[in-house]
């Protein structure tokens, strides 16, 4: 199997970081424009796929350790559950930060308007927590699937195929 040509590998190398910034923009502006936590997390996870195509598998496995992404994923899920428990005075998942000033608390005028970034209460915090979890989870799936293929090649004793060099 031939490795992909130099043009594809150079473009993937340049555009991987652009995907990272675009995904973080979609996650943070989740309460103003369509998007939010899950969609932005899936866009950032394609950054790992681009880096895998452009640099080859052996270099990626020495650069990105699975423990780092696993830590990001568990941190995101723990922040999500803690934010739910903090508003336990009224109900579970009560929005106790909206419309009261302070962190994420500005009041939004009624009717169509241009968005205010500081506005929604716990919705913004939960957006970012879910975004972190999806980034960690999907990147971990990609890395382990690639490790599984290399396991199979080492068993049959073949030489390195694909994009490795």
């Amino acid at each position: 199997m031939n490795p992909l040509s130099v043009v594809v590998r150079t473009i993937c190398d340049v555009f991987a970081w652009f995907m990272g910034i675009y995904g973080i923009y979609i996650i943070i502006h989740g309460h103003l424009t369509p998007g939010g936590g899950f969609q932005g997390g899936a866009v950032v996870a394609t950054m790992a796929a681009f880096l895998l195509v452009s640099h080859g598998g052996k270099k990626l496995l020495s650069f990105a350790k699975p423990g780092f992404y696993s830590g990001i994923e568990t941190a995101g899920l723990l922040i999500f559950i803690t934010t739910g428990f903090l508003g336990l005075s009224a109900t579970f998942f009560y929005n106790f930060l909206a419309g009261r000033g302070g962190l994420f608390g500005a009041v939004v005028p009624i009717g169509p308007n241009s968005g205010i970034l500081n506005s929604a209460g716990t919705i913004s915090v939960m957006n970012m927590a879910v975004g972190l979890e999806v980034i960690g989870g999907l990147s971990l799936i990609l890395i382990y699937m690639f490790k599984g293929i290399r396991l199979f090649d080492d068993q049959t004793g073949g030489s390195e195929t694909g994009h490795d060099r």
Partner: protein
């Protein structure tokens, strides 16, 4: 070869029955009676101070479903990790 053609005709007949039944329930595009969604559209901006009604429904009015979905994602990642372990197959 004959079994394939028979299965194909059966699938087309079932699809036609579904289409005919669903298009007679409610005319497409008219104002369906949905009192819960009207409440969401009118009061979400005043109570929760957020501009995006879909995000308010997913994270605030129905936040419990999002908790269940995050758990499903976590479980799927854990089981994929458990399938690709080396050293436990072959003595």
């Amino acid at each position: 070869m004959k079994k394939k053609v028979l299965f194909l005709i059966a699938i087309l007949v079932v699809a036609g029955v579904f289409w005919g039944a669903l298009s007679r329930v409610h005319p497409f595009g008219e104002k369906a009676r949905a009192p819960m969604d009207d409440y969401y559209l009118e009061n979400a901006q005043q109570e929760r101070s957020v501009n995006n009604v879909v995000t308010a429904i997913v994270f605030d009015y129905r936040g419990f479903d999002t908790l269940g979905e995050a758990a499903v994602l976590f479980t799927a990642v854990c089981s994929v990790l458990a399938l690709f372990r080396k050293g436990s197959e072959g003595k």
